[in-house]
């Protein structure tokens, strides 16, 4: 059976981009889902449950990244993560 997949492209809004704190929040959230989570930027694909992976995307403010989830709760994962990014990780 083929894995279910969902994805969405979002823009990084918070000022410093995906630095340690936002990256940690993102990883924390991603880890709550059973699906595998990936972040893709300019063809570069990293594990969304890895802080080092997310950091190595070096995604600054204004860059767009694609969030992809693969697994039975993929829609919920993509929804939750997109929201987090779009809220700018609740930074001021």
């Amino acid at each position: 059976m083929e894995k279910r997949t969902a994805e969405r492209t979002v823009t990084i809004r918070n000022k410093l981009g995906l630095h340690v704190r936002p990256a940690s929040l993102l990883v924390e959230k991603a880890s709550q889902f059973r699906s595998d989570v990936y972040l893709i930027r300019d063809g570069e694909k990293v594990n969304g449950k890895s802080i080092m992976g997310v950091l190595s995307l070096a995604a600054e403010q204004g860059s767009s990244i694609t969030i992809r989830a693969e697994g039975d709760d993929c829609e919920a994962a993509v929804e939750a993560l997109s929201k987090l990014v779009e809220r700018g990780f609740d930074e001021e």
Binding site: V20, R21, V27, S50, M52, A58, E92
Partner: protein, 584 residues
């Protein structure tokens, strides 16, 4: 006998330490690629997981210890490290690699991290590039543990010594114990580096930015670290050593004598009262301020918050920090200076500048990034609810800029009012006078500002056009230059003319030679390193306002800074030489 040598660096943490050198060197190391026999693979995996667990435990332990001993802010330098060591995906990938490729754990780990290091290294963002060193630091720590090599650690420092290192990373500081580290010297780093922050918090004298220190120093060399002057003296001769030891001894004695003054007012013999306040950077310093008898915080620098966090500090984080200071100092006043950094330091995109001192920094950055500014103002205002907080803008150049910034305070107030948040509606808003254009228009600014604080370090730099970090011209840097004295005098006059108080928060506030002049000019408050307060207080208490005014009249007529200094030295010799002999 080894050669005597004097090295100049950046004074990062005050105090004088004398001891033998402990050279903290990290060799470049080579990670070997080995193939593991199939039956040993699981053993290799277990070994790897154990080491990760150990390293994680150590970092958490260290964070806890630092947080308990020095407070939550300095402890945050461990957060990025801990998050990285706990990266499950990296751990899984490494384990997978060991199992799949039958490679030794350190090699598998190295291969896994390689792409992360590469990506961070290529980043345009200085903050992310810095994280590369965190990853390498972790890699080194884990690998040396796996290879059974003692990881370089300050834990090996078993007796008291002066630590000499190229740089100190976060994991180096894990085992650093105050008892054994007498002093600290590093080649890299400025006064906001990890090493400097920790040294200050630990109260260990430190000098950073000492080029080639690890090449010039041999293990066991006798070393003096002068954290006041940023000097490292190698193998001093007997005479020099005695001088340092005497100086250290006299500083200790002086401290004991002056601490007796703690609860007495800073009042001249003829009854003129001034306020002696402290400059601080961390909330943890408040207790030192109170011990020194500070009557307030005349300058609370907020840059640290922006440098230690891996992101811009949130309003909430700022509020908690400011509130801690305001609450502990209440009812004494606390002047919080808004962000005084270059835009580049904030990770805001900014092209390199040819003249950073004349560039995009301080209030200029705040006025451009209004959301960042507003968050800070809201946090400060929320911390003002006991009525003892004041807001101060750095590097104001004139009325227009001040009004623009002040308007932002009103905006922050309106927002808070709407949200029903508590704050002091009359929270005073002042200008730092540190640019000649502000000093020259002080009479205009005084109509808009609630108080002034003269920042002499920058005022001298901008008035005389001298960068004191430049050895060739540093001699020109002189707070007693007639132009500087005149600007200070005019600023105080202008402030008083409009009924506002005028303070001074540069190094000059703690210079005993300057005390009588500033007193005579009518300065209301002196803000300085809290440790200097008792000494200045003793001078104030033995002065006479009438005489000090007379002295100002004479000084303002002098042609050269040198003449002023000579004259003041004579005065000092005549009256106060018993307080601090080495001033002259």
């Amino acid at each position: 006998m080894r050669n005597e040598l004097i090295l100049q660096g950046i004074a990062a943490s005050p105090g004088i330490a004398v001891g033998h050198a402990f050279l903290y060197e990290k060799e470049d190391f080579w990670i070997e690629e080995r193939t593991i026999p199939a039956e040993k693979v699981e053993e290799e995996v277990d070994k790897f997981l154990e080491v990760i667990e150990e390293v994680r435990g150590e970092l958490r332990e260290a964070r806890k210890r630092i947080s308990k001993e020095l407070g939550e802010e300095p402890a945050k330098i461990f957060d990025a490290h801990i998050a990285m060591v706990e990266d499950q995906a990296i751990i899984d990938e490494t384990v997978d690699r060991i199992r799949r490729e039958h490679k030794n754990a350190e090699f598998a780990f190295f291969r896994t991290l390689r792409k992360v290091v590469k990506a961070l290294k290529a980043s345009q963002d200085p903050y992310l590039r810095e994280r590369m060193y965190d990853v390498l630091d972790i890699q080194r720590r884990v690998a040396s543990r796996l290879m059974g090599e003692p990881s370089p650690s300050l834990a090996h420092l078993e007796s008291e010594a002066i630590v000499i290192a190229r740089n100190l990373t976060v994991s180096d500081t894990v085992h650093m114990h105050r008892q054994h580290v007498l002093g600290l010297v590093t080649e890299l780093g400025g006064s906001t580096s990890h090493a400097a922050i920790l040294a200050r918090a630990l109260g260990v004298p430190a000098v950073v930015g000492v080029q080639e220190a690890t090449d010039l120093v041999e293990p066991g060399d006798l070393i003096v670290v002068d954290g006041y002057r940023g000097v490292v003296h190698l193998n001093p001769d007997q005479e020099a050593l005695e001088t340092y030891q005497k100086r250290r001894q006299s500083l200790i004695e002086q401290e004991a004598r002056l601490s007796a003054l703690k609860d007495l007012p800073a009042e001249t013999m003829d009854g003129h009262r001034v306020s002696l306040e402290a400059n601080i950077e961390f909330p943890e310093e408040v207790s030192l301020c109170l011990e020194s008898g500070a009557e307030g915080i005349g300058l609370y620098r907020t840059e640290f918050l922006y440098l230690v966090h891996p992101h811009l500090p949130t309003e909430e984080e700022q509020f908690r920090t400011y509130w801690e200071v305001a609450r502990k100092m209440a009812p004494r006043p606390v002047v919080i200076r808004t962000l005084d950094l270059g835009g580049d330091k904030l990770g805001l995109s900014a092209p390199p500048e040819a003249n950073p001192f004349l560039g995009w920094r301080a209030i200029r950055v705040s006025l451009r990034h209004r959301d960042v500014f507003l968050a800070q103002l809201r946090a400060i205002l929320r911390a003002s609810r006991l009525g003892n907080v004041r807001i101060m803008f750095p590097m104001v150049t004139g009325v227009e800029e001040f009004l623009e910034a002040r308007e932002m305070v009103e905006k922050a107030k309106a927002q808070l009012r709407q949200e029903g948040a508590e704050f002091d509606p009359d929270c005073p808003v002042g200008a730092m006078i540190e640019v000649p254009s502000a000093a020259l228009t002080a009479d205009r600014l005084a109509r808009e500002a609630d108080f002034f604080s003269i920042g002499t370090n920058d005022l001298v730099q901008y008035t005389i056009a001298v960068d004191r970090g430049n050895d060739r011209i540093a001699y020109l840097f002189d707070p007693f230059h007639p132009a500087v004295l005149r600007l200070i005098y005019e600023t105080i006059e202008a402030g008083h003319g409009h009924g506002i108080s005028v303070g001074l928060c540069g190094e000059m506030a703690s210079d005993p030679l300057a005390t009588p002049v500033l007193l005579g000019m009518g300065l209301d408050s002196f803000s300085m390193n809290p440790k200097a307060i008792p000494e200045v207080k003793e001078i104030v208490r033995q002065s006479n306002l009438g005489e000090a005014r007379e002295l100002v009249r004479k000084v303002l007529r002098m042609d050269r800074g040198r003449d002023v200094r000579e004259f003041l030295s004579d005065v000092y010799k005549g009256y106060w030489s018993h307080i601090k002999k080495e001033v002259l």
